[in-house]
């Protein structure tokens, strides 16, 4: 493959925006359109993150942008009915299901509780103009990441999810993102989620590809959690191994809000997850978990940034990787405790197992602390399966492969057990086992016509 420079990609994307800026803005609300110009200028000025820059130290972003992708202004007519095509539903999991095709809402199943809104961005801005205006691009604009700026410039598809004050959503809201089409495609999906005061919801994101094409999903989700809200965000990433995914989830937590975020990365050639949490109200709590199981030539980079801006907040992070094949895993964790954010509790842990000789792991847990009455800790390990445990099991007649499998499943279980939807947790465990056994991590009747790996 011919090597392209990052400047060439930047110029190409900027030119693409300039050429189609009218079409991109057409039919979109002013709240979105007014952000585009400064975003593209920022992108044009700074370009894609340079290789080796601190934020993307272990990840060359050209791994995602180095291919040629098409770009679609709107939903494509010829795309398959994802509802039909996608039969990967978790058996027995009763959810409000929203399918999203290449960034655009396709179908919606079940009647959401009164007041809960799930719409496209444009409709969202019409239905709740105040909420939309106040929150759209508020968190994203503060981030010094040009990939987020790129998304802001191109944003059209995506969804707006609003849960009114004190509404408890009874069933999980499942958002199934499918990428399909006959050509390589870049999808800039932009989501805005606002959880009202005292509201509660569980959201499950599933990212899939329906074709063996090179997709590039640049996903930005802004989440605003108002006082006392509770959100569980589960994310299952399962793109094909030719595709790239850059997923930025930017969360603001207000007083007393509780967040549970859990990211499972199974497939996807190049995956970069940015999870940034701003603790903006006292007594907020964030529990963040991640599990990646890369093999082959996968590159998976999890980056988290927890900003403790106010006192009395708690954050807990656990990220795990099981690396096989020639895969590369990276973890960058950043905890910032601002001056006066006293009584902060922040814990961060990154544990990794390298199974194969050529797998590589890079980890960079960081603490930056400007307040003294805090308890902060982090830990990172890279190692192998415990030989003693293996020996113990083999002594008792368990085959080597099976014994390894049990240990790896147990390693993964620490993340799985945090899931608060029991059926989903079972499904997770099953998918993880399939993945570790080298099978496709989707269900038996999966339509994904992937290459045999």
């Amino acid at each position: 493959m011919e090597k392209v420079s990052s400047t060439a990609i930047k110029n190409k994307l900027t030119a693409l925006y300039r050429q189609y800026s009218d079409s991109i803005a057409a039919g979109m609300p002013a709240a979105i359109n007014r952000q585009r110009e400064s975003a593209i200028s920022q992108f044009d000025e700074k370009g894609l993150p340079e290789k080796g820059c601190e934020r993307y130290r272990f990840t060359d972003i050209m791994g995602a942008f180095g291919h040629t992708h098409g770009y679609a202004i709107g939903p494509q007519k010829e795309q398959v009915d994802s509802q039909k095509a996608f039969r990967c539903a978790v058996p027995g999991l009763d959810t409000y299901t929203i399918t999203v095709g290449n960034g655009w809402i396709d179908t919606q199943n079940g009647n959401l509780p009164a007041g809960v809104t799930v719409t496209g961005l444009a409709e969202g801005a019409q239905l709740h103009p105040d909420i939309f205006e106040a929150n759209y691009n508020r968190l994203a604009a503060t981030k010094n990441d040009t990939i987020i700026s790129l998304n802001t410039a191109f944003a059209r598809g995506g969804l707006f999810l609003y849960i009114p004050d004190n509404v408890v959503v009874d069933k999980p809201i499942q958002i199934v993102n499918v990428l399909s089409g006959g050509n390589p495609l870049m999808v800039n999906q932009r989501n805005l989620i606002v959880a009202g005061r005292g509201s509660q919801a569980k959201i499950v994101f599933c990212d899939h590809t329906l074709a063996e094409r090179q997709f590039l999903l640049n996903n930005v989700t802004e989440v605003v959690m108002l006082d006392g809200s509770q959100l569980d965000c589960y994310s299952i990433q399962n793109l094909n191994d030719h595709s790239s995914q850059i997923s930025s989830i930017l969360i603001e937590q207000n007083a007393g809000s509780q967040l549970l975020a859990n990211t499972l990365t199974l497939h996807g050639g190049f995956v970069r997850n940015n999870l940034e949490v701003l603790m903006n109200g006292q007594h907020a709590e964030a529990n963040i978990y991640g599990l990646s199981l890369p093999c082959g030539h996968q590159h998976i980079d999890n980056f988290t940034y927890i900003d403790h801006a106010v006192p009395n907040c708690t954050s807990y992070e656990l990220y795990k990787n099981v690396l096989n094949g020639d895969s590369v895993g990276a973890f960058g964790g950043y905890v910032l405790v601002r001056p006066d954010a006293q009584k902060t509790n922040a814990m961060q842990s990154n544990k990794n197992i390298c199974i194969s000789p050529s797998a590589r792991m890079y980890t960079k847990p960081q603490l930056e602390i400007y307040a003294d009455d805090v308890k902060c800790s982090h830990g990172a390990t890279v190692g192998q399966l415990d030989e003693n445990a293996l020996f113990y099991m083999r002594q008792r007649g368990i085959g080597e492969e099976e014994a390894k499998m049990m240990l790896m499943s147990a390693f993964a279980h620490e993340v799985v057990r945090t899931i608060r939807i029991p059926i989903l947790a079972d499904r997770y465990a099953e998918m993880i086992e399939n993945r570790l056994r080298g099978k496709q991590a989707a269900c038996g009747e999966c339509f994904m016509k992937c290459d045999k790996r």
């Binding site: 890079y362 930056e368 009455d373 982090h378 830990g379 990172a380 890279v382 190692g383």
Partner: protein, 479 residues
């Protein structure tokens, strides 16, 4: 508990080495260019190859820019406003083993015995003031065993082959901005060679003193420990109290051959600046050891209490199979001090082991960062690392930061890193108070216990000094 009062007392504790000695200096003009480098080289009567080495480094330095990645707020440094060579004038002939009484008085005041008869402990000293080595003790006694311990300039004169063989092999002149600067203008330092199979009978020590104003100190230390040998090396440093900042950029290179062992200890006590953050030494140091031989071992111990800004990452390249390295550090920052320090362990050989124990203590408005790298290359089968870096915060206006990097490309490596940050627990203080120990003493007790693991690794004489230093630096400080 009147914490504020007690904290205020800390800032009043005095830097006791802040005096200036009235000694005449042979000083060159300010500024840096190729002529200055030629002048330094000619003053030291250096051979042509060394001048070339310096010029090459200088040309490389000119192309580089000051690194900005550290968590430090470094005011712009005008490299043309620094004197690059300043030697105290001696009215006696040092070649005859004599020493100028004024100089002797200075080192006596610092507690460094230059008089061999009066020495109580078996420590050989090389005393360096500004740009030159003033005196090296016990040289003859050491020479009997084949050990070379002398000033760097002397080594260049008397053992040019050894110096040429090893100089720049561990820290190449192109390594980084400050290494290039040092390689261009380095003045003096110590050279030490331990021959095969020799266990150095006494501790070797270099004491660095900055005295002259407006000068920078750029010393260079080279230690070579041949097969099956052992040496314990100590380094100490102080500087006068001045309102302007002075630059110190040193290089330490250590080569450890088969089955040899080097123990390198530092007590760094450069003038840290006053409580408003005026003055102090900028300390930009590149220290690196190469465990070249099989089963070689290098151990770093450091107590860092001085300097306005510290930028220092002693590291070891574990090249020989079975080699091992340890890094123990206590870094204390107070008032407006800033420190960005830590260790690098590069595992290349098979079955290499490393251990990092770093204890940071921040007080006042200081910023204290740990920055470390543990890197395991693809061939380093069976590599093992354990890193622990703890931070203790005393006061609510200081910062403690941790930036570890772990890079692993081998599936048989086992790497562990852990870090914690906290203040002294109120329950701990309460427990001590209950038992009749004043808050003041309780803090001393807790800090001492906290740093014990590192202090225990220092040679005895140094451990006592370090413990005292810790007490002075943090006197009465309560979080």
């Amino acid at each position: 508990m009147d914490n504020t009062n007690i904290i205020n007392e800390v800032t009043d504790s005095e830097y006791k080495y802040g005096f200036v000695s009235d000694i005449e200096h042979d000083t060159i003009a300010k500024g840096l260019n190729e002529d200055v480098i030629r002048l330094i080289s000619s003053k030291k009567e250096e051979p042509e190859w060394l001048l070339e080495f310096r010029l090459k480094a200088y040309r490389h330095w000119q192309k580089q820019t000051m690194p900005t990645w550290a968590h430090l707020d470094i005011p712009e440094i005008d490299y043309q406003d620094i004197i690059y060579y300043s030697a105290p004038k001696q009215n006696v002939k040092p070649e005859n083993g004599e020493i100028d009484p004024e100089l002797k008085k200075t080192f006596d005041k610092l507690g460094i015995p230059l008089d061999e008869q009066k020495v109580l402990s078996g420590v050989a000293f090389d005393a360096v003031m500004d740009s030159v080595s003033v005196k090296t003790t016990y040289k003859d006694a050491l020479a009997e065993r084949g050990i070379i311990f002398c000033s760097f300039s002397e080594a260049v004169r008397n053992h040019p082959d050894l110096v040429r063989q090893y100089l720049g092999t561990v820290v190449p002149p192109t390594d980084n901005y400050f290494a290039a600067l040092n390689s261009a203008v380095f003045s003096d330092g110590s050279f030490c060679y331990i021959p095969k199979g020799v266990r150095c009978p006494m501790e070797l020590s270099t004491y660095f003193r900055i005295n002259a104003a407006k000068t920078g100190q750029f010393e260079r230390t080279l230690i070579v420990c041949d097969d099956d040998s052992y040496v314990s090396y100590l380094e100490g440093c102080t500087a006068p109290r001045r309102d302007e900042n002075q630059l110190h950029a040193a290089i330490v290179e250590i080569v450890v051959m088969n089955n040899a062992e080097v123990k390198y200890s530092t007590v760094q006590n450069w003038y840290p600046g006053d409580k408003e953050g005026r003055g102090g030494i900028y300390n930009f140091v590149t220290k690196r050891g190469l465990c070249k031989g099989v089963n070689s071992r290098l151990s770093w111990s450091q107590v860092e209490t001085g300097s306005a800004i510290t930028w220092k990452y002693p590291g070891t390249v574990l090249l020989g199979d079975g080699s091992s390295s340890e890094f123990y550090s206590v870094a204390v920052t107070n008032n407006h001090q800033q420190a960005d320090t830590g260790s690098k362990m590069i595992h290349i050989g098979k079955n290499t082991r490393s251990r990092i124990v770093s204890k940071g203590i921040s007080a006042g408005q200081s910023q204290n960062s740990y920055r470390g790298l543990v890197k395991v290359s693809a061939n380093a089968d069976g590599a093992r690392n354990f890193s622990q870096c703890d931070s203790l915060l005393l006061g609510d206006r200081c910062g403690a930061h941790t930036f570890p990097y772990v890079e692993c490309a081998n599936n048989t490596a086992v790497l562990e890193h852990e870090a914690t940050t906290s203040k002294i627990g109120e329950d701990q203080i309460f427990y001590c108070n209950q038992r009749g120990i004043s808050t003041e003493d309780a803090v001393g007790l807790i800090v001492n216990g906290y740093a014990k693991e590192v202090l225990n690794t220092l040679p005895m004489e140094f451990a006592v000094e370090a413990q005292k230093l810790l007490q002075v630096s943090l006197e009465g400080s309560v979080g």
